[in-house]
């Protein structure tokens, strides 16, 4: 770039307006959404807690101490203890690993399937579009919870299977959205221009269309993480989760029979699920505002 030159002839680099990168622009706009910023901070804390669980948690998740059965929350055990004297705080900290990982992986799987199917359908159209969209409708028409119940009941119980199954049922909405974007973008002049200069299908799909679809995909994915966490906790609540290591839903389910005598066992992990999902929804909202160039706030 040519340096800015004043009439006197001396270059005035300092006067040159600094070019704002896309990332900076997004961050500047994201920061205006106060609740989204707070939520991002909360999520970073939660993920930090999950990563450093062995350091943060005073006990292992399988720890038991029958002398401390059903203690209410106190300074020694912040969130109280369960029937076998397990420390709820420690279990919640360890549980964050499972719950947060399920959210990320399941949403990731949904993201990959949804984007590929939506992109193929939207870009090629015709019979491919027809087949893929009918398939999408078939998957979307099953009441999710019943489908999940069946598949989880049939498959060997493992956290990995739960992640895969949640991801494999959560993609239809995303596929429809990506398809819509591709349908409209493939008619754009700049795509036509790329095709005219001999760009291949692959390069058009990846560098020209997909990049321009990233904003809504990212927003959708961030909302889907929260959704996946809710679904996993629901399954665990129904007793279909993995018992050890526990997720937040598993801990909550464990406290159900003791709701009258020890309400903290169920209440606290539920609060964590709620706050995490709320945070993902607000971050998604903030991203929507920040990434959409037409939005004015």
């Amino acid at each position: 770039m040519k340096p800015n030159v004043t009439p006197g002839g001396t270059p005035h680099v300092a006067l040159m307006p600094k070019e704002e990168t896309y990332g900076r622009m997004v961050w500047r706009r994201f920061r205006r959404h106060k609740l989204a910023v707070v939520s991002l901070f909360v999520l970073l804390l939660l993920y930090g807690m999950a990563i450093f669980a062995p350091i943060v948690a005073p006990y292992h998740y399988d720890h038991m101490d029958f002398t401390k059965s059903l203690h209410p929350p106190s300074f020694t055990s912040w969130f109280g203890t369960d029937r076998i004297g397990g420390d709820i705080f420690s279990r919640v900290v360890w549980g964050s690993r499972i719950s947060l990982a399920v959210g990320l992986v399941a949403a990731g799987i949904a993201l990959v399937i949804g984007t590929i199917i939506g992109a193929l359908a939207g870009y090629f159209g015709g019979i491919i579009d027809d087949i893929l969209m009918r398939f999408t409708e078939v998957v979307a028409s099953f009441p999710t919870m019943f489908l999940l119940l069946t598949v989880i009941a049939v498959l060997p119980r493992s956290t990995m299977n739960i992640m895969i199954v949640i991801g494999a049922t959560a993609w239809p909405g995303l596929a429809r959205m990506v398809r819509g974007q591709f349908l409209s973008l493939r008619e754009m002049d700049y795509v036509e221009a790329a095709r005219a200069v001999g760009a291949t299908d692959t390069s058009i799909v990846f560098t020209h269309i997909l990049l321009n679809t990233m904003a809504p995909i990212i927003v959708n994915a961030s909302l889907r993480i929260g959704g996946a966490i809710l679904v996993e906790s629901g399954l665990s609540f129904l007793g279909l989760g993995v018992i050890s290591p526990p997720s937040w839903g598993t801990i909550l389910n464990g406290g159900r029979p003791l709701l009258r005598s020890a309400p903290w066992i169920s209440t606290i992990p539920g609060l964590f699920i709620f706050v995490t999902v709320l945070a993902f929804n607000y971050v998604g909202d903030g991203l929507r505002d920040a990434l959409d160039p037409r939005a004015t706030r």
Binding site: S141, F142, L147, L149, T150
Partner: protein
């Protein structure tokens, strides 16, 4: 128009076939054969072969599919592995309870979300609108089962009027106690489940209503209505509302599967004797016939519902012309 309806109908058939293939495949992803469920180590090889032949498991997969699909078309969903009852009877016996809960919820959601959405849109960025938006986030993020447990503990167990398990008091009938007593008894059981499902599901419909209304009130014809001096209330309720309602009405089709999905959790918590509780019990007892039938029926009903909604849309919205 006739062409569109015909095309949409063919599409419906394709979807139903797709649903049957997916349902059939799920039964077959289970490791081991379904026969393992009916046999144990004491079963002789001959018995196994006999059972295999009885259920047709010795045939090829496509043959099995067509055999199974043929039975489904004739309405034969098989018998429960556990109780031996016909699966269809079990589901039909439980369906009314689930439908009652979901239809009441649907009514509550629409009765509340439409006015709230309108006010929120008309007074955009007012304190009311901010409160509604905040609530929408809370409602969409709150785990239903957690809210249910909180209400159970902090409300249900403290007020003797509110019942926390079941659907009605044993023996209460209109004939013996009169209509009023009967209804009050039902309400005692309905309050908590209805409150929970409505609270969490009201959020999204309210947001849609608000967005739809916002879009409509920025249209030219609304400006025209204002320009000719109509009072605000008339503009909103007569000119804007009708058009804003269209997309909301079609949402019913999407909302029903969500409500049905939610009924598994709600019915297990409140011991509501519907299909949700039935499927949960079926899963716990590995009674796959029941849950497979429900998956198939549920998905088929959703597709049929969407078809009906599309046809209704043709009638309701004269602007739509299909080629």
């Amino acid at each position: 128009m006739a062409g569109y309806i015909a095309r949409r109908f063919v599409q419906l058939l394709v979807l139903l076939i797709g649903i049957s293939i997916v349902s059939f495949s799920i039964m077959h992803i289970a490791p081991g054969s379904p026969i393992d469920l009916m046999t144990d180590r004491t079963t002789t090889a001959e018995d196994k072969a006999r059972i295999e032949a009885l259920y047709g498991f010795d045939k090829s997969i496509p043959e099995q599919y067509f055999r199974w699909a043929g039975q489904i078309i004739r309405g034969e969903f098989g018998n429960s592995f556990v109780t031996g009852e016909p699966v269809l009877d079990m589901i039909m016996a439980r369906l009314p309870a689930t439908l009652l809960l979901n239809f009441l919820t649907l009514i509550i959601i629409y009765v509340l979300s439409i006015p709230i959405g309108i006010i929120s849109a008309v007074r955009q960025y007012s304190w009311f609108d901010h409160l509604v938006t905040f609530y929408a986030f809370l409602g969409q993020s709150m785990p239903e089962f957690w809210l249910a447990l909180l209400l159970l503990f902090y409300v249900g167990l403290r007020f003797p009027f509110i019942q926390t398990t079941g659907m009605a008091t044993w023996g209460v009938s209109i004939a013996e106690h009169g209509l009023w007593y009967f209804l009050v008894d039902r309400v005692r059981y309905l309050i908590l489940p209805l409150a929970v499902i409505s609270f969490t599901n009201l959020a999204s419909i309210t947001r849609y209503m608000r967005a739809s209304m916002l879009e409509v009130i920025s249209q030219d014809y609304v400006r025209t209505a204002r320009a000719k001096g109509l009072p605000q209330i008339k503009v909103i309720l007569k000119h804007a509302l009708r058009n804003a309602l269209l997309p909301i009405v079609t949402l019913i089709g999407f909302e029903l599967p969500i409500l049905f999905s939610g009924s598994v959790i709600i019915e297990t918590i409140f011991s509501w004797p519907g299909v949700g509780l039935l499927s949960w019990n079926a899963v716990m007892q590995r009674d796959y016939q029941v849950i497979m039938a429900f998956n198939l029926l549920g998905a088929s009903l959703m597709v049929l519902g969407a078809f009906v909604a599309d046809m209704l849309y043709l009638v309701v919205d004269p602007r739509i012309k299909y080629n």
